[in-house]
């Protein structure tokens, strides 16, 4: 839904949302498992119309930032998550992880009920039983030798719950909980606190003249990625006015690939560079330390001096992280950034009150010391996140009573006695304070997915409610908790009460603030810094959280597993990045299994030669390698029963790749943060080899002009030869006078029967696109523009598309299971059978084999069905299964398709995807939507059957919905009234959709941009997707690398 729709049409419904949300009986019959699939409602709640979506505003809890959500629900089931346009952080956009929250909600491995570890065997218990057991546990823990020794490890969040939790713990005489976020950059937070007095000031990329990042991956998972990405894209959209972006670090992450220049320094040497820039050290020294040549640093320094204000960020994860962060802060102050590009006045409060790893390790020590009587974990998985060296499990098991509030079976939960599954954020009440002064409200968008097994407790309880229930059972504490449940507590606390809350919910936002939670100094373990250079090994070992799976919490969501890593394009697997030159030296090929060995452990993973990693370093992503004690080698969905627990974080995460934490020593730096880049490793080549499950064909364009770029300097030169496109343009490349070319003439004209088509000819010879043509081809032309200057390659559009169009995931190891075929994760992907309708191609330019230093450029191209005017796929279909709709869509009729696959052969863009197996048939191994994942399916879109071709439909269901709504309201479609899923979700606003035939739509104007071009224009396909060239900002004098 676009912003406009929410402002205009939906008000009425929004009022209903309030009722819908606040009435406890909402969608009572809607979402329980035993309801028939065809008729979700027997008795429909008054305020929902079957087949018409309702939209609820709530808050995303996938990471600490707390972006705003609009959840689209149909007949009582959430089917799509989109950004809340009014939310100060994400302004309507949403990252891939946020959109995948749905697969957490509908995850087939969620606990159906509380579970009890009865001497090693797990058995379900009733809610009543669970609460009784918990309160008994509390009573015991209160007395005895370990009195007051309780540890509650909670996933970091802002808002009311942390304070409720602290109060509850206090009531039982226990210390405040540890609010942990493994991905948060403790060093940056500490430095910010010292420098600006806030944990996280707002960053403004648009106001910067120069952006320098010391390994701060603000487009991956550093800080609040969505707002950062929005702002960065806006900055880039200033084209020739845009700030240059220099990335300094040993590994070029997704953020690094978006940089104009990469300074590849030795890990740990960022400090001397930062100091030199801050004027506290000599450039010469920095050059020697970092192995970067002096000239580069010199020009860097000059540029920094010239550009005021600059925006310099530090995301270093080494032992000296805090020092770097502080040095960077100094640089920023020097360049007058404070208040302009760094705004302490508008802090992101989401990062306040966070406990660091040091404190967590302190708690672990206390457990090991036997001082802890009861331990809780909620939403975090320390048994997975803490390196083996920390011996968490051994210490944790010393705690007599261990409770997990996790919804999923994970490594830590497996160690617990009692599991009281929390509700998913989309099922529960709550609030957050993303930025100071704004409360983001969280409301249940649907009834809990699973019905409870208890009469007295009809609806599953969230952790907050469990706490309240337990408190009520304890005479001493009960008095403190008058309210019936957490919801009424929130209402009571809300200024203005239910009325005001009801009024605020539709927008999901309210003014106000929550008193900051004081870090009641949980004693931290002493920082155990180690000098990385001292460590043994040939290569620096760089570990980093995956931009998609994060620190591993996303690993049980098939969308995120299937989504190719934005940098390496590998999915369903782990990999070891190694520089091509090094790889060549060691005789390592892509896919060779390497053995990586540190003093702490050994892992085996396939090699991925990557230009963007320092020659003396290897890099391994975090997030995979979830294993369970009782590892089940293969998983057969056909014999699987819902009750059967899939330990190892669920069926989609278990036994995939390796866990890089196993390699790391336990180290915390001065700010108490965990040291990612802590050690060196030896790499040995094992004999084995595997085909990487990667969607990458050739990483080079071979000069085919798919992703075109232009130097900012050339922007204002006349179009044509100097327009910055490669000089060795393809022979027969049509001239750009041909643009927009969205209206295709009949084939005869296109093939030049009327001579080289000119603008004039375009006017005259529109063939069936004449205005008076009976086929009405001329009335509309749905089209799309993709601005490569904005696109960062984050891949959120892919998840948006998967969610909207019921695209199956095909990579799980049992999904390629046929007789005599080995069950291998991602085998279908390795065979090129991925289904996602839109893909992000990542092309490297320049520096063919890493021979020429670090200098290479990356271009991202979202490639989807181009909806050609002269579509090559159409005439070859023997059964008219694909044809041209009057409004310019290239339509695919699934029921008509017999599966000759000729259309795909004839598609130059290769954007058609074939159903090799029955991914949509629940009685098959390859079924992609095991109950209740299938609840997420969009009722407006068919689930395609076995043996038919499918492809991007330009979200035709959204087009028709908008058209029908307009018709019902007796009006014409308004320009930009709606948009398609990928465009809606895009956190860099690179995609614009609309009617190119009507000049009032934004897309029609953008299509005439001077940067506009069609891919493979010389094929005369007259694509409806127009790309705007990427804009490079080479250093003064230098020219951007080009293939």
């Amino acid at each position: 839904m676009s912003q406009d729709t929410k402002k205009t049409g939906v008000k009425r419904r929004e009022f209903l949302k309030v009722l819908g949300a606040t009435s406890a009986a909402v969608a009572a019959a809607g979402c329980s498992e035993d309801t028939g699939k065809l008729i979700p409602y027997l008795v429909s709640p008054d305020q929902t119309v079957p087949g018409v979506s309702s939209y609820y505003a709530t808050t995303c809890r996938e990471c600490s930032a707390a972006c705003g959500l609009i959840a689209e629900t149909r007949d009582g089931r959430a089917i799509k998550l989109e950004g809340n346009p009014d939310h100060p952080l994400n302004r309507g956009a949403l990252c891939a992880r946020g959109q995948s929250a749905l697969q957490g909600l509908y995850n087939p491995d969620r606990f159906r009920s509380p579970m009890l570890n009865d001497g090693g065997t797990w058995k379900p218990i009733t809610w009543d039983d669970a609460i009784v057991r918990l309160s008994q546990g509390m009573t015991q823990a209160r007395g005895g030798s370990r009195a007051g020794g309780g540890v509650f490890i909670n996933q970091h969040e802002s808002g009311s719950f942390p304070r409720l939790l602290d109060g509850w713990l206090a009531a039982f005489g226990m210390p405040p909980h540890l609010s942990v976020d493994f991905e948060a950059d403790a060093a940056a937070i500490e430095a910010n606190r010292r420098t600006y007095g806030v944990a996280w000031p707002a960053l403004s990329f648009t106001d910067a003249k120069l952006i320098i990042s010391f390994g701060a991956d603000f487009l991956d998972s550093w800080g609040a990625s969505v707002p950062q990405q929005l702002d960065f894209a806006d900055a880039r959209a200033k084209l020739d006015g845009a700030p240059r972006f220099i990335y300094i670090g040993p590994r070029r992450s997704l953020t690094g690939l978006n940089a104009d220049e990469w300074i590849a320094c030795k890990p740990g040497s960022e400090l001397s560079i930062a100091n030199a820039l801050a004027g506290k050290g000599s450039l010469q020294q920095a050059a020697t330390d970092s192995g970067v040549d002096l000239a580069a640093l010199q020009s860097l320094a000059n540029e920094l001096a010239a550009a005021k204000p600059a925006l310099v960020l530090s995301g270093v994860t080494g032992e000296n992280a805090l020092d770097v962060a502080l040095a960077v802060a100094a640089i920023n102050q020097a360049s007058g950034a404070v208040g302009v590009t760094i705004k302490p006045a508008q802090p992101l409060t989401a990062f306040e009150g966070m406990a660091n790893t040091g404190q967590l390790l302190g708690a672990v020590e206390r457990m090991r010391g036997g001082q802890v009587g009861i331990a809780f974990v909620r939403g975090v998985n320390p048994a997975y996140h803490l390196p083996k060296a920390a011996n968490f499990a051994e210490a944790f098991l010393k705690v007599p009573f261990r409770v997990s509030f996790s919804s999923f079976p994970d490594e830590t939960t497996e160690l617990c006695n009692l599991v009281i599954p929390d509700l998913h954020p989309l099922e529960s009440w709550g609030d957050a304070e993303p930025v100071r002064g704004t409360i983001a409200l969280q409301q249940p968008v649907m009834d809990p997915v699973f019905r409870t097994n208890s009469k007295t407790i009809p609806v599953a309880l969230g952790t907050a409610d469990v706490l309240i229930q337990v408190a009520k059972k304890d005479a001493a504490v009960a008095a403190k908790y008058p309210a019936a449940d957490y919801r009424s507590t929130l209402i009571a606390a809300f200024p203005g009460g239910a009325q005001a809350l009801g009024a605020a919910l539709p927008k999901g936002l309210a003014a106000g603030t929550r008193p900051p939670r004081t870090l009641a100094g949980a004693p931290a373990a002493a920082p155990r810094a180690m000098s990385i250079d001292g460590a043994q090994g040939d290569f620096f070992l760089i570990t980093f959280p995956s931009p998609l799976l994060g620190d591993g919490r996303g690993a049980n969501k098939p969308w995120l597993q299937e989504l190719p890593d934005p940098v390496t394009k590998i999915c369903w697997s782990s990999w070891v990045e190694i520089h091509p030159e090094t790889a060549q030296r060691l005789g390592i090929d892509r896919g060779d299994i390497l053995e990586v060995k540190t003093t702490n452990g050994t892992v085996r993973a396939p090699a991925f030669p990557y230009l963007g990693v320092h020659k003396d370093a290897i890099a391994i992503p975090l997030g995979q390698g979830h294993r369970a004690a009782n590892a089940i080698p293969t998983f057969n969905p056909m014999t699987h029963t819902a009750g059967e627990i899939q330990w190892g974080y669920g069926r989609y995460a278990r036994n995939l790749g390796i866990n890089a934490f196993d390699l790391l020593p336990v180290g915390t730096h001065a700010a108490g943060g965990f040291i990612w880049t802590a050690t060196k490793a030896t790499v040995t080549k094992t004999g084995d080899h595997e085909t990487l499950p990667s969607t990458e064909g050739s990483a080079r364009q071979h000069g085919r002009g798919i992703a075109q770029a232009i130097n900012s300097a050339d922007l204002n030169k006349p179009a044509g030869g100097e327009s910055g496109e490669p000089k060795e343009a393809l022979p027969g490349d049509a001239s750009h006078e041909f643009l927009p070319g969205l209206r295709s003439p009949v084939a005869a004209d296109a093939q030049g029967e009327l001579g080289a088509p000119t603008a004039a000819d375009q006017g005259k010879n529109k063939g069936m696109y004449r205005d008076d043509d009976i086929r009405g081809m001329a009335k509309r032309r749905w089209a799309m523009t993709v601005d490569l200057a904005r696109c960062t390659g984050c891949s959120a559009c892919i998840t948006a598309c998967n969610a909207e169009n019921n695209v199956p995931t095909v990579g799980a190891f049992w999904q390629n299971a046929t007789i005599f075929a080995d069950q291998k994760p991602g085998l279908n992907i390795a065979r090129g059978r991925e289904m996602s309708w839109i893909r992000l191609e990542r092309y490297f330019e320049g520096n063919p084999d890493g021979k020429f230093g670090q200098d290479f450029e990356t271009r991202f191209v979202p490639m989807l069905c181009q909806h050609c005017g002269n579509a090559p796929c159409e005439p070859v279909c023997p059964v008219y299964a694909t044809y041209h709709a009057p409004d310019g869509l290239n339509v695919q009729v699934y029921n008509r398709c017999v599966g000759t696959r000729y259309c795909s052969n004839n598609c130059p863009y290769k954007v058609r995807y074939f159903n090799w197996f029955g991914y949509g048939e629940s009685d098959r191994k390859q079924y992609a939507f095991p109950e209740p994942l299938n609840w997420q399916l969009n009722p407006d879109v068919t689930v395609r059957g076995k043996g038919v071709m499918e492809k991007c439909s330009f979200c035709v269901q959204r087009i028709r919905e908008a058209e029908n709504r307009a018709t019902l309201e007796h009006r014409e479609l308004q320009p930009d009234e709606f948009t398609v899923a990928c465009a809606q979700g895009c956190p860099s606003r690179a995609i614009t959709f609309g009617d190119a035939a009507d000049p009032n739509w934004t897309v029609a104007q953008l299509a005439h941009d001077k940067r506009a071009y069609h891919v493979f224009e010389e094929l005369n396909t007259y694509t409806a997707v127009v790309y705007l060239k990427k804009v490079n900002h080479p250093a003064a004098g230098a020219t951007a690398p080009r293939a």
């Binding site: 990458e696 064909g697 050739s698 080079r700 364009q701 071979h702 000069g703 085919r704 798919i706 393809l730 022979p731 027969g732 390629n816 046929t818 007789i819 005599f820 075929a821 279908n828 065979r831 090129g832 059978r833 893909r839 191609e841 092309y843 490639m863 090559p872 005439p875 070859v876 279909c877 023997p878 059964v879 008219y880 008509r896 398709c897 017999v898 599966g899 000759t900 696959r901 000729y902 795909s904 052969n905 004839n906 130059p908 863009y909 290769k910 995807y913 074939f914 159903n915 090799w916 197996f917 029955g918 390859q926 076995k946 043996g947 038919v948 071709m949 493979f1016 094929l1019």
Partner: protein
């Protein structure tokens, strides 16, 4: 006549005009003296034998393996086969084109050579016509078999239907449907028409009443009257005249499947002639593969004489050179086109990931047949047999090289890929051979593998006076206008 070891019949001296290696229009089968001998020897090939049962059993077994694999594929989905997008067509389409190609020699020999009055066709055309029909029956399975939803194949056939949508007449695949169905109908009709007089012969020789009844029905009551022969020869001529352009058209249409697409390596105007030549070449290869064992097994060396093999080998050599020329032309066109997609593709074809396949194709189809320049080898059945196996292999790989590498190396570098068939593909490929040979074996033991009536026409007729050779050599026997049936 080195063609035959047996001496000439007494009382009938040779005509003076005789050149080596050119079968005389008059005495083509010196070892065959009387009409009775023809009937006796050819009728002797009928009826089962132990070896035949063995062969048939093997064929049926292979067919069953293929059928099983197909059943499994239908149940599981096409994913069971080795497709790796962007390679959306694989072994099945390759094998389809392969069999269609095989199916071209028969009609070529029976129709085109007939119009050209090529004498050597007489003894081999029946077998190759049967081969044609069965090859097309085999090929016809594959377009269905490679569908994602094979149970919907009839949607490609034009007939009034409740769906209100007819097939798309702009799609080359629909052209295929028309071309192949027409070809199947016409070539099987052709085969049957030619069979009628011979069935009549069998009918008249048959003692067993049941078989006699069946044969009578099949022979449609043929009586060898001059009236029947007159219309028969005329109709046969016109059928040949139709079948000739049909042969050329069918494989041209098949080549359109590729030539009409944008794919680099497919989008070429030389495809129709190139495919037709290739088809005839592969067909002749299969004729050798079948005829040479046949003449040995059935002791018919004096029917399929070395002269016939020699002549066929020359045709084989010719088509091989045409195909070779086409290969080279493709490279030259790519080179001179200045079209980067084409150039990349053809470079990748011979030096890239698919080099091995391309070189198998070039060696088997271009290089080895050059041996046929030597007369000694042309007249050496064993060599011809071995060579024919290589030709079959090479022609299968020609289609492989056209289909797979092109798709795996298209416009979009990001989608460049590779291809590896699975056991399902291989089993179905095997099954297709089983299916083909099952039919062929059933044929050779039930119906005459040679046109008895035509052979009788070629050999010297019984006369009370000496046969006047000059009549043949000057205008008579090889004059198209006077004779209906060929020599």
């Amino acid at each position: 006549m080195a063609a035959s070891a047996t001496p000439l019949p007494e009382g009938q001296g040779l005509p003076e005009v005789q050149r080596p290696n050119i079968p005389s229009a008059a005495v083509r089968f010196p070892a065959i003296r009387t009409y009775d001998q023809v009937d006796r020897e050819i009728a002797a090939t009928l009826g089962p034998s132990l070896g035949w049962f063995g062969a048939l059993g093997t064929a049926i077994l292979c067919m069953l393996i293929g059928a099983t694999a197909w059943t499994y594929q239908i149940h599981e989905g096409l994913g069971a086969a080795g497709y790796q997008p962007p390679v959306m067509w694989g072994v099945y389409i390759v094998t389809f084109v392969f069999w269609i190609g095989i199916g071209h020699a028969g009609t070529l020999i029976s129709a085109i050579l007939y119009l050209f009055r090529a004498g050597f066709r007489t003894s081999i055309y029946r077998a190759s016509e049967a081969m044609t029909v069965f090859a097309v029956m085999t090929a016809g399975l594959f377009p269905i078999l490679h569908l994602g939803r094979p149970w919907k194949f009839f949607w490609l056939i034009p007939y009034p239907n409740w769906r209100l949508v007819w097939p798309n007449p702009k799609s080359p695949l629909v052209w295929d449907v028309f071309a192949i169905l027409t070809y199947l109908t016409i070539s099987s009709t052709f085969l049957y028409i030619g069979l009628i007089p011979d069935i009549a012969i069998l009918r008249d020789r048959e003692k067993n009443p049941i078989r006699k009844a069946i044969l009578s029905t099949l022979s449609l009551g043929w009586r060898n009257s001059d009236r029947e022969w007159r219309h028969f020869t005329r109709a046969y001529l016109f059928l040949a005249a139709f079948a000739t352009p049909l042969v050329l058209s069918v494989h041209s249409v098949v080549s359109f499947d590729f030539a009409m697409a944008l794919v680099p390596g497919w989008h070429a105007t030389i495809f129709p002639p190139y495919f037709v030549a290739g088809a005839i070449f592969s067909g002749l290869g299969m004729v050798f593969t079948i005829a040479i064992p046949l003449r040995k097994a059935f002791k018919l060396e004096h029917y399929i004489t070395l002269n016939d093999l020699d002549a066929a080998a020359k045709l084989c050599l010719f088509t091989s050179s045409v195909v070779g020329l086409a290969y080279l032309t493709e490279f030259q066109v790519a080179w001179m086109s200045g079209n980067r997609y084409e150039q990349d593709y053809f470079w990748n074809r011979v030096f890239g990931q698919w080099a091995w396949a391309a070189w198998i194709m070039l060696i088997c189809n271009m290089v080895l047949p050059l041996s046929l320049w030597s007369q000694k080898l042309r007249r050496n059945p064993s060599w011809l047999f071995i060579l024919s196996l290589f030709i079959n292999l090479g022609m299968w790989f020609e289609r492989f090289v056209i289909v797979v590498p092109s798709l795996s190396h298209e416009f979009e570098p990001w989608q460049w890929g590779t291809y590896r068939p699975t056991w399902v593909d291989y089993s179905i490929l095997l099954g297709s051979f089983g299916w083909f040979f099952m039919w062929f074996l059933l044929f050779v033991r039930q119906l005459p593998v040679m046109a008895m009536a035509e052979i009788k026409e070629v050999i010297l007729p019984p006369m009370k006076t000496r046969y006047d050779f000059s009549h043949d050599l000057t205008q008579g026997a090889i004059d198209p206008d006077e004779t209906g049936v060929a020599h």
